[in-house]
Structure formats: structure tokens, C-alpha cells
């Protein structure tokens, strides 16, 4: 069976078309998975935005409030499921700051988190763009190969 498939032009086209289609399927699945992950990432970003908003409000309220205010800085760290978007280096720094008790440490945490989320989002969108391109190319190639076979079929049906 494999010999016939690999040594006849029609067989080769079908095999190549299936390979390209499978690449498209895999790319599509990875893209969907990335999209699921992006939803989670945007949820983590929203939570961080709220923290930034809160700290900005405290800043606007003046230094008098801030100087007297003891914050539970650990509240500004991320939920467990957001850890995967943060580099190990940033994570170590965040854990160190989370033991603190003043507004500057809280500000440092939200800034680090914001940067980490942005970096992850940027790299994820680059990967998505590349995958989309691969998906488009493999899909087109698969269709072209299918078209060649259809052309051959047509010739056989109507007689060349």
C-alpha cells in the first residue's frame, strides 16, 4: 500500500495533502489553546489594573495618608493561577516585596506584575501570528494538492 502511495503521483499528492492538513489541524488547536490562556492572562491583568487604580487613588489622597498607612502588601501579589505568566526572576523579587508593609513595596509589585503580563502577552501574540501564518500556508498547500488530484480525476472522467 505504502509503495503505491509513494510511487504514484496521485498517491504522493494525497499523502502530502494529509500531512499539510494535519499541520493545519495542530496549528488550529495550539491557537485555540493560546486563546484560552489569553483569557486567563487578561483576567490576571484586570486584577492588577484594579490594584494600580487603588494605589493611584492613595497617591492622589496625599502623602500624609500614605505615610500612616500600613498596607497588607501580600494582598498585592498575584493569585496562584497567574504565576505561570511571570518569569522566575520577577517572581523571586515579588515574593521578597510581598513581605513588606508600605505602599512603595506594593507599587513595586504591581509594576513588576504589569511588566510581566505585558511581556507574556507580547510573546504570545508573536507566536500566534506565526502559527496563523503556518496554518494559512499549510491549508493552501493542502488545497492546491487536492486540486491537482481533482484535475487528474476530471481528465480521467472526461477523457483527455
Amino acid at each position: 500500500m505504502m509503495r503505491i502511495l509513494l510511487y504514484t503521483p496521485r498517491g504522493r499528492n494525497v499523502v502530502a495533502s494529509i500531512i499539510f492538513s494535519s499541520v493545519s489541524v495542530v496549528c488550529g488547536q495550539i491557537l485555540l489553546f493560546q486563546e484560552l490562556s489569553n483569557y486567563n492572562l487578561s483576567h490576571c491583568r484586570k486584577i492588577n489594573t484594579q490594584k494600580i487604580f487603588f494605589l493611584n487613588q492613595l497617591d492622589t489622597a496625599g502623602t500624609e495618608v500614605n505615610a500612616n498607612k500600613k498596607l497588607r502588601v501580600s494582598n498585592f501579589a498575584m493569585p496562584d493561577y497567574c504565576r505561570k505568566y511571570i518569569s522566575n526572576e520577577d517572581l523571586t523579587t515579588i515574593v521578597e516585596y510581598a513581605n513588606g508593609s508600605n505602599i512603595y513595596e506594593a507599587e513595586a509589585i504591581v509594576r513588576l506584575l504589569g511588566d510581566s503580563y505585558s511581556k507574556t502577552e507580547a510573546s504570545s501574540s508573536i507566536i500566534q501570528l506565526r502559527l496563523l501564518l503556518v496554518l494559512m500556508v499549510s491549508n493552501s498547500l493542502s488545497l492546491v494538492l487536492l486540486c491537482v488530484n481533482l484535475y487528474e480525476d476530471n481528465k480521467e472522467l472526461h477523457g483527455s
Binding site: 496521485r10 486584577i47 490594584k51 487603588f54
Partner: protein, 239 residues
């Protein structure tokens, strides 16, 4: 009599249909779990916002009203003006929290937390009307737009107007109760996070199942295609 090839083809066809049915059912379940995860995520976001807002209230506007409002028993006290302005902000924010509980966290109008918040708003309104002699509605009608202007206005209307200890005590108690209720609402954040994490994990497992099913269907269909091609090409060669 059916040949072994036809039987195999029929089995593959049957497997494709079975896999497609499982895939369809899995897709529906996956969509339901995703929706649940999304609504859980929104609840977490609202509660996170609420937690920080309460924290901010505690540090900026919240006072022991029993002490703070007694400043209004002195004529033209700047501290009274500041306390009244903060009390108006506190009232408005309490009203906002009621809206958040009802609209975003799906609390009912008759729920204890909501009724308690509404009671505080009504109590403050009553105190403004009865003790200070100018309701907030009436103040709006005469063009007073911000809390400070209102505070100056009530001192202007009646400088000897005093707030009773009973009223300020009631406000203080109600305010403390509300903070406790809101803190309790926010305390459930950890449970919500665990629930969201579980839903995310479940949706990932379902997603992997979907991927496997799709690949399985793809593999079966491709095998039929390859098989058909090899048979057709083999026949052509023999001719």
C-alpha cells in the same frame, strides 16, 4: 457476502460517527465549563475591586462617626464640615456598593447585606433632613453639587444645628456592620479563586479530550482516503 475490506470500511465509518458524536457532546460540555469559568473570573474581578475599594474607604473616608459628627455641635467648626463631607461620600459609596452587590454579584434586594447597606443610606438621608434641616434632595434642588458646599450650606442655614449623639451612634454602628458584611463578601475570594482554578483545569482536560477526538477523526478519515487512493492506483497499474 460482505468482503473483509467492506467490513473494515464500515467499522471505520462507524468509528468516525461515534467519535464525532462524542466530540459534539464534549464541545457542549466544554462551552458550559468555559462560561462557568468566565463568570467565576468576573466575580473574582468584582470582588478584588470591592476589596481594594473597601480598603480605600477605610483609609480615606471612614471615621468613627460618633466622635467625628459631634464636632457639628460647635458653631462653624471646620472639622464638622470635613466630617459631613466625608459622610456624604461614605453615603454615596454605600449606594455604589449596593449596586455592585445587586448588579455584579447577583445579590437579591431582600438579602441581608443589601438591606443593611440601604438602611445606612436611608439613615444618613434622615439625619441630614431631621438633624441638619436640609435633605440631600432639597440641596440638589437649590444647586448644591458637592459635599463641601452642602456642609457649608447647613452651617449657613442654621449654625446652631446639632446632630444628636443617638443619630451619630446609629450611623457609626450601621457603618461598622456594613463594613463587616462587605468584608465577609470579599473573604469568599479565596473560595472563588479555588473554584476558578478547578474550572480552568477542567476546561483544559476537556480541551485535550477535544484535541484527541479531532486527531482521531482526522486519522480515520485520512486512512480511508489513503486506502481508497492505494486501491484505485493499484487497479490502474494492473490495467
Amino acid at each position: 457476502m460482505e468482503s473483509s475490506q467492506t467490513r473494515l470500511a464500515r467499522r471505520i465509518f462507524g468509528s468516525v460517527l461515534a467519535a464525532a458524536s462524542i466530540f459534539g457532546a464534549n464541545t457542549i460540555y466544554f462551552t458550559i465549563i468555559r462560561n462557568m469559568a468566565q463568570s467565576s473570573a468576573s466575580q473574582i474581578e468584582v470582588k478584588e475591586a470591592l476589596a481594594f475599594s473597601i480598603e480605600m474607604d477605610k483609609s480615606l473616608f471612614y471615621k468613627d462617626w460618633t466622635v467625628a459628627l459631634q464636632e457639628c455641635n460647635r458653631v462653624e467648626s471646620e472639622k464638622c464640615i470635613s466630617a459631613v463631607a466625608d459622610l456624604i461620600i461614605h453615603r454615596n459609596r454605600t449606594e455604589d456598593y449596593t449596586a455592585v452587590l445587586i448588579n455584579s454579584l447577583n445579590y437579591g434586594h431582600s438579602d441581608m447585606q443589601v438591606t443593611s447597606l440601604s438602611k445606612l443610606v436611608n439613615l444618613i438621608d434622615l439625619v441630614f433632613k431631621d438633624d441638619f434641616g436640609l435633605s440631600l434632595e432639597a440641596a440638589k434642588k437649590i444647586g448644591i453639587q458637592d459635599p463641601k458646599s452642602y456642609a457649608y450650606k447647613i452651617q449657613e442655614i442654621n449654625p446652631n444645628n446639632a446632630i444628636s449623639v443617638r443619630s451619630s451612634k446609629k450611623i457609626s454602628e450601621s457603618s461598622q456592620n456594613n463594613f463587616q458584611y462587605l468584608t465577609d463578601v470579599v473573604e469568599s475570594l479565596n473560595t472563588d479563586r479555588i473554584q476558578y482554578k478547578t474550572l480552568e483545569l477542567r476546561s483544559t482536560i476537556l480541551y485535550i479530550a477535544l484535541v484527541i477526538m479531532e486527531l482521531f477523526i482526522f486519522f480515520l478519515i485520512s486512512s480511508i482516503d489513503l486506502w481508497n487512493t492505494s486501491v484505485t492506483e493499484g487497479r490502474k497499474r494492473k490495467k
